[in-house]
Symmetry: D2
Subunit: 483 residues, 4 copies
């Protein structure tokens, strides 16, 4: 059985995190926060609450709105502090073992942690810990954090956590909870987002500002790269316990992952996407009659493109939102028919037109091929494809589920070969400097890039200890990234 | 527990139908056809197949893509002919009893029927049939058709069906199946759509053309109002067995129900919606800075409005597509917070702007109130609401789930009162003639209206036998409409 | 996959019925009554209650104690009158369609009926009704009763029911419910049991007295063969509307179906079973060292045998009660190992002994073969099998799920051949007269047998209209017996 | 909601273990072995298999025959070695976390362990391990074994395990599995049973011999108290690595826990139970007319009693085997009726008789009270109760779920008070020496008791480190015993 092919051909953010401290109904508010972060992971979610004495843990596969909103589930999560996590994949047969937050009863007391990002030396550290006698109950890199805290020789809890994180490489935006405190940390590069909010005096940590909006909370500020905040009944304390480095926020959050209504690192995502569309229009020479987005992710860039190019913006492709992630194509013979489960071209809009098609990125290229064929069959006389990011040429090791490099279309073809492969009259990607300009930078600083753009440039900002040497792929399959 | 309030405040089409004759994998193709008609009903679906000897019936609650795509389900539906139905609601405790298609083993052989529409004298006829000894196993009006066929004195099968339908009032677009034949019928007014398609020689009946597109089938023609087609191995035969009447297609299919990529009665739905937006712009005197649709249904009209008014079209409101129909608001105190489960305003786009908000219709007005409040809180300096249909003043008895008349905002308020109620600076509805113009008619012919527009005008094109007299509401609750 | 082979080799009673009138918590009491009748059918159950205005229907697959005891289920069954039914099989793909009680809204008002027994002309009558326009929604013979009531020309409700039942052949012990009344009927031969009980003034109808015991109700009397009782707020009325016939109670109820603690037709089941064992001992010439029952059904007869023969009664075979009906033998190779899923011989008790093995009946003989082999492998030096019923030679058409005649071991072998087939040193069945004596009759009256013993004698007390002629088997598969 | 009260009033063995080495279909055979050990725990089960490279883990709540027999489950358990565990309770909200076998990937390789018994210093050791940095993922004492192995400084695997077990107190009959080996260990006192079997050359470890019988395997011998056996492709090796002590097998295994067809420590359980019944008869002075067992556990002792006393053995109480553990008494008013969900007296057998009632033990006394009342209401003129064990006065800390001491009837009443409480004419318990005699010992040696009989005598054979001091109850609730 083959699952929806369209879904296989996009990148998946693996996690969203949310925590609130000092508020009745804490778990219910986490539920809402995670619901608004559902685009960062749809497969499973977990919430841990603390009622002043005990921790309570719930983990469920499925959408928040279907699992965590039952009264009975919320009643099992009492307390005025709670943190939660939503994730993209429960890979392998592990069932709910890998669903976060992770929780352990340490000798220092209980500790729960929810992690967005991915560690690049977790496997190496895990092996050391196992040699010492630690037993791992999941295949998630996040569990490594718990064991490092548990075995740290430091005396105070925050010092144990700093000790643990100092030994790790990679991306981590964490929300942690110990008795009487909620802790937020961003890795020194600030690869993944993390914001601070407030609801009637209660402090909130969340991956994106849209999770503050849903409950009417105010945005306070971004947690800084390398910052650790500790929230207690006495308020919030900030520290910068790691060696300072220049920040490298993931630029793909702007291109695709973050919700358009979120403000990330001070910039509005929808606005940046429209600006990328405008850059694309300026960099493009071809003319068309209408600008058509590949819905839904291509819509803001297409609007920006159409406004800049002064061409009509039209919904020439309709998306069926009832396709879940589990739609199975019923039979073999039908699979070969190339059915349009998710998108359908609107012939009336397209017939006889020169169509400028706008999408956010090309991963394997299989979806683009199908979309273009569909648009041609609907009568387009020319199809020009414009992509709101540079060619995706390298894998991400910081919490995004990318196919291995060899499957990325741009890693094995020139742009002309790609144009031929997806059968368009012209193909254009926004330039890397255009992308930086749209993101309010003058251009990419090649000596000290302002963002992590490794998926476009292969320029990784951290060591990749677990992935060095010949056996990367095997190692990767042994220790799944988790968020 | 309160379910998503937003969903309560829109109208729901109750049914979509699809059938295919003479093709291996018939049931699998019906699955795909129903998937593309999922917008016409999300709660439950059924498929009946005929394998040359026996009929096979499957009914499931939930989305097609989650229920009917399992190999085991399709294996229980063998045969080269199959019909299916997707429906909005399984009201009451009846479980799957009311899920169509209905099937009965009659003395003349098996007969299955799937019905889009609603009969307005089903209860009256049902009582007569019960007096005669017929036993009803559902509360659906569609079962009445089966009993009338079963008790008809006519000799040939098609005559029995004509006999049965001649006794019924209301809207019916039917797909039926008896051994060796598939039958399509539209009521004399043609209130609900029904189209004929073809896939490599096999004939198809479907509610909308988008259900042909998904499997790459060709559109042949609309079934005519009052037409009955009989599809057998020898081909298709057409008859017009009912008294001829001037057609009255449901104009709300254009406004909201049909998918924008469908062509209905020869016109493209997306195009009509854009034209309604343009009419609205022409009829409107107020100025704004940006045109913002209430997603998703307001999008095409907003595009049309923006193009006509030469104003920027912007996604100022973002929709969370992960809200299923079952999202339960977790606690009482949270319910009163007015959380933004489904929509969020994009402050960066809206702040300081005069916003022209475009939506398809106003039913109870509760959603509009919340949306407007959200847009104001995001910093809009003026909010002007434009509605792509005339005020909805009367209930539908032809297959749409409308609240009772007294709950329709427009039935109890003037436009100025409504403007005040939803707290906008100005409120405009497209005129009835504007709507007809957008639908390619010169204007509404008051003596012989070209469409059924009863929800706007109260001008019902059929008798309403079951609903006459004082006890309408009670009767309605006893016999649910079904499709 | 092969389900428990042991279970395939016994006869299954198909139904138990229970109703109570005029008591708060009616449905909860029906739940308990059905629980105590669970031995008469384990696959599915249903309850219909009447709250003075409306009927409420619940049907569930599985054991009563797992399905109907949930608070939410009982809350959906309000009212002071309720009837219920438990059944052995939901044959075919019909799901819950065939689960009783059946209910219909007739022009005369609602009517629910629960039926223990089987009609032998239901198919013939069904065809007549279909010709007339009746639509059947199940494949159960019981639905025929509803349609005959619905189409009866009689004026009063009871007369409609008498009219309906007069047209039917076979076995029926019914509990019916219409507004304001509960009705109990037994067919003129009284083939299946039905008793009247009382709990603090409220009257009860039940298949067996053990269903009265569980709730502490008093036994009033057996409903008589051919009797119809009508229970209303004014009390109970009795009538004998059918032509009088000499009664023919099913003697297999004593042998196997009824619970040992029930009194049926004035006699205690456990006592009769012990008396059968004593008859067996008297009719038997072989000697043994110990008497070992095949648990659980052989236990009472083995006790009676041991007491009469003055031999020790020993549990030489232990039964595993955790075998549900669904235990699937895991793999092919294991299936051929002949694993002891349900019974295990207790070697310490059996080794070196001459074992007299007592069982209730032999159906296909496959279980007996396995049991005997197991006892021999445990070291028995001789195995003598004694069966507490005569050879089962003919199928039952009155509500028992018997294999077709050709699969009954006794229909194709002599006793000596059977002895050889199951590999015992001697094999004895109780004589038909011995069975009658144990049942407190002097002997079988061959001209007017006091019981229905058709499964032993082939002497059927009613016409078998549906089963005459060459195509019995096909017909049977088209219309399942139901209780 | 109140669950079946009868079930609350008996003792529950918490675990059964089974392993097989060197045989295709290993997991399927474990399934069957666990099925025959289902009486030792019904709530949940787990199986771990090893396919030569990888370990595979499955855990499910429910009966083996309902969960592990699905083809899909067995296909996820490939390999020629597998071990399994069935357990009584998944206490608390831990879900499947506490279901055994436990498995961990240690630096030395994978290790799985299934444990029958209970450790009496697990909590104390756990705290030490946590201080050292170990993270526990369950509340089961068995996980402590894994951590001690993981952190052991010994070099070879078996030495690590010996090192670990040497630090633990209490009862443990273990089956472990590491790559290439299966290990069986019994604690030095041999409190719980463990036997060695063989099936066509493949070796088996199981809690009881009935688990060998089900698959036709041969019994080889009991694993000795304090013995560790290591099974590899080269055969079996035996070692006695712990300090030698005189064995103290749990005598309650004979009284109630073990299956009657098992041979334990060289003695047949059914035979010992009959001998206890005979001792009871000899120690009893009262006369009766019939001997009636409380089914099912009282049956063997009642047979022994009746044979010794030369009185008729009769099934005067019938048990309903369809009562699952989850039967919920439907309503409050019904709960007060004292319904007979599980047992019913057979009035015909009991009326007018002097009844000698035989049961295995009295825990809280609530069941005995109800049974006696039921027997009296059925017309017994005298009721004499005889119990096949001495009064149960103390809690078990070795793997049996006993109520706390204060709830044990015999810990707070004299026998005369108990007689009065359960309202019998006489009450007798077998003497402790009678019980030893029935178990083939001349008498109890008070200086060196041959069995663990702590539940009758309070004489615990091990230290109870976790339970010393004032806060027993709290500690117990923090660390559940597991098997």
């Amino acid at each position: 059985m083959d699952e929806t092919p369209f879904d296989d051909d996009s990148l998946h953010e693996e996690c969203g995190v949310f925590g609130i401290f000092g508020r009745a109904d804490a778990a219910a508010l986490v539920t809402l926060g995670l619901h608004s972060l559902q685009h960062r992971g749809q497969e499973a979610a977990g919430i841990v609450s603390f009622d002043g004495k005990q921790f309570h843990v719930e983990r469920h596969a499925g959408l928040i709105g279907d699992t965590f909103t039952k009264q009975s589930v919320l009643e099992r999560l009492p307390g005025e502090a709670a943190i939660g996590h939503t994730r993209y994949a429960t890979t392998g047969g592990g069932g709910l073992r890998n669903v976060q937050p992770f929780f352990a009863e340490l000798s220092a007391g209980g500790f729960a942690v929810a992690h967005n990002g991915n560690l690049t030396n977790a496997l190496t550290v895990q092996r050391e810990l196992q040699r010492r006698g630690s037993i791992f109950s999941s295949t998630s890199d996040t569990e490594t954090i718990l064991h490092l805290v548990a075995t740290s020789g430091a005396r105070h809890f925050n010092d144990k956590l700093i000790d643990a994180l100092s030994r790790l490489e990679g991306a981590f935006s964490l929300v942690g909870m110990a008795p009487g405190r909620m802790i937020g940390v961003r890795d020194p590069l600030g690869i993944r987002p993390l914001v601070l909010g407030e609801l009637e005096g209660s402090l909130i940590l969340a991956s994106e500002t849209c999770a503050l909006d849903i409950i009417g909370a105010d945005f306070v500020r971004d947690i800084q790269p390398g910052e650790m905040v500790t929230i207690t009944d006495s308020g919030i304390e900030s520290a910068f316990p790691f060696q300072a480095r220049r920040s490298r926020f993931c630029i793909f959050e702007y291109v695709y992952f973050a919700r358009p209504d979120s403000n990330v690192e001070g910039r509005n995502v929808y606005e940046i996407r429209k600006r990328i569309g405008a850059e694309l229009a300026r960099e493009s020479k071809e003319m068309g009659d209408i600008v058509v987005p590949v819905p839904d992710s291509g819509v803001p860039a297409a609007i920006g493109y159409a406004q800049e190019a002064k061409l009509p913006f039209e919904l020439g492709i309709i998306r069926n939102h009832y396709v879940g992630r589990t739609f199975i194509q019923p039979t073999d013979s039908i699979r070969h028919m190339g059915v349009k489960l998710k998108h359908n071209a609107n012939r009336s809009m397209i017939e006889g037109k020169r169509v400028i098609l706008v999408d956010d990125s090309i991963v394997r290229g299989t979806t683009s091929q199908k979309i273009v064929q569909m648009v041609r069959e609907a009568g387009a006389v020319e199809v020009h494809m414009r992509i709101a990011s540079p060619p995706t040429r390298a894998s991400c090791f910081y919490g995004v589920d990318t196919p291995e490099k060899s499957k990325l279309l741009a890693s094995r073809m020139t742009i002309e070969e790609m144009r031929d492969y997806i059968q368009v009259d012209s193909l254009g990607f926004v330039s890397i400097d255009g992308l930086y300009r749209a993101s309010f930078e003058p251009e990419r600083n090649p000596h000290a890039p302002q963002f992590c753009d490794a998926c476009f440039t292969g320029d990784y900002p951290t060591a990749l200890t677990d992935f060095d040497g010949a056996d990367n792929v095997r190692q990767l399959s042994m220790l799944g990234g988790n968020g």
